[in-house]
C-alpha cells in the first residue's frame, strides 16, 4: 500500500493527472451529448464540471492543485477567441448587410441581460455581493471579471456565474428560440452569443456555421457594450 500512496503523491504533483482528468471527463460528457443526438440539456461542459467537482471533493483535492494541471486547457481560451475571426470572416457579407440590426439587437440584449439579472437578484433578496456579481453574467469571463471589480462585486464569483450562465444558455437557448419560432441562423446565433458568450458560441458552431459566426460576433460586441454601458448605468442608478 505504501507504494500506491507514493505513486498518488507523485502524480498529484504533476500537471498530468488533472489535465488527463479534465480531458477524460469532457470526453465522457461529449460522448453522452453526442449519443443523445446533441440534446442541449446534456451539455458536455455541465457533465464534465459536475464529474470533476465530485472527484475532487471525494479525493479531498483543492481547486488550486486541480487548476495547476487544468490551466493548460484554460490557457487555450484566449487563442480560441482569436480563432473566432475565421467563421466571422467567412460570414462577413451577411454581417455587413445587417450591421445596424446586429448592433441594435446586441445592445438590447446586453441591457436585458444585466438589468434583469440585477433586478431579480435584488427583489428575491440576494446579498449585495451576489447581486453585483450577477450584473455582467452574460459577458465573456475575462471582461465580466473586470466589470464586476469596477462595480464592487467579487470577480472570482462572477467568473463562476458567467460559466453557469453559459451552460444555462446553451441548455435552454435552442429550445426557447424554437418555441418563439426564431428560425434564421443569424438571429439564433446572435441570441446565443449575447446571452451565453463562448459556451453558447461553442454550441452554435457545432450546429451551424452561420449561427457560430454571428454568435462569436455577438460575444465580442456584447462584451464591449456591457463594459462601457454597465458602469455608467450603475453610477446613474446608485449614485443619486
Amino acid at each position: 500500500m505504501e507504494d500506491l500512496r507514493d505513486i498518488w503523491v507523485y502524480l498529484s504533483a504533476t500537471p498530468l493527472l488533472h489535465l488527463t482528468l479534465t480531458l477524460a471527463a469532457f470526453r465522457l460528457g461529449a460522448w453522452i451529448y453526442t449519443r443523445s443526438g446533441m440534446n442541449p440539456v446534456l451539455n458536455p461542459v455541465m457533465i464534465a464540471t459536475i464529474l470533476i467537482v465530485a472527484i475532487l471533493l471525494a479525493t479531498d483535492t483543492d481547486y488550486q492543485s486541480y487548476f495547476d494541471g487544468a490551466q493548460f486547457v484554460h490557457f487555450l481560451l484566449g487563442p480560441a477567441t482569436v480563432a473566432l475571426a475565421i467563421p466571422l470572416y467567412r460570414q462577413f457579407d451577411k454581417v455587413r448587410r445587417s450591421a445596424l440590426a446586429i448592433s441594435v439587437s446586441i445592445l438590447t440584449g446586453s441591457l436585458t441581460a444585466s438589468l434583469s439579472a440585477v433586478a431579480i437578484g435584488y427583489f428575491l433578496g440576494a446579498s449585495h455581493d451576489a447581486t453585483v456579481s450577477l450584473a455582467p453574467k452574460s459577458v465573456t469571463a475575462a471582461v465580466a471579471m473586470g466589470i464586476s471589480e469596477k462595480l464592487g462585486g467579487l470577480p472570482s464569483f462572477t467568473a463562476v456565474l458567467v460559466i453557469l450562465t453559459g451552460i444555462t444558455g446553451a441548455m435552454m437557448g435552442p429550445f426557447l428560440l424554437t418555441l418563439f419560432r426564431i428560425k434564421s441562423w443569424p438571429a439564433r446565433g446572435l441570441a446565443m452569443g449575447t446571452a451565453a458568450h463562448g459556451i453558447g458560441t461553442a454550441r452554435a458552431l457545432q450546429v451551424n456555421e452561420v449561427a457560430g459566426a454571428f454568435s462569436g460576433l455577438a460575444m465580442g460586441l456584447n462584451a464591449l457594450a456591457t463594459a462601457i454601458l454597465l458602469p455608467l448605468i450603475w453610477t446613474v442608478l446608485f449614485a443619486a
Binding site: 461529449a30 440590426a101 431579480i120 452574460s138 437557448g173 439564433r188
Partner: protein, 118 residues
C-alpha cells in the same frame, strides 16, 4: 501550421498589449480576434493551414471552459446563502436575453428585407 499558430498567439499578445496600454474595456483575445480579422481582410482569403489550426481549436471550444467551471467549488458557501435568487436570476435573465435578442434580430433582419435566412 506552426506559422499560423504563431500568428494566432501574436494576435492575442498584441491584443493584450493594446488593451493594457490604452486601458480599453475589451479583453486582449477579443482585440486579437479583430486583428486576425483585419489580417484576413488584407489577405483576401483564409489560408488553408490557418483554417486547420482554428478548426481544431474551435471544434472543442466548450472543453476550454471546464477548468473555470470547476471553480464553482470555491463558492459553495455564497451559493448556500443565496442559491434561490441566484438560480432564478441565472435562469430567468438568461432565458429573457435569448428571447429578446433573438426576436429583435429576427424582426429587424426581416424589416431590412435582406436575404440573410442562409
Amino acid at each position: 501550421m506552426l506559422t499560423y499558430l504563431t500568428l494566432i498567439f501574436a494576435c492575442q499578445l498584441a491584443g493584450e498589449l493594446i488593451a493594457h496600454a490604452l486601458h480599453l474595456p475589451v479583453p486582449g483575445p477579443v482585440l486579437g480576434m479583430v486583428l486576425l480579422f483585419a489580417f484576413l481582410l488584407v489577405r483576401g482569403k483564409i489560408p488553408k493551414d490557418l483554417a486547420t489550426v482554428t478548426d481544431g481549436l474551435l471544434s472543442h471550444m466548450s472543453l476550454l471552459f471546464v477548468p473555470a467551471g470547476v471553480g464553482v467549488m470555491l463558492h459553495f458557501r455564497l451559493f448556500g446563502d443565496d442559491w434561490l435568487p441566484i438560480a432564478a436570476a441565472l435562469i430567468v435573465s438568461t432565458a429573457l436575453t435569448v428571447v429578446v435578442t433573438g426576436l429583435m434580430m429576427a424582426w429587424l433582419g426581416k424589416r431590412a428585407a435582406t436575404d440573410i435566412e442562409g
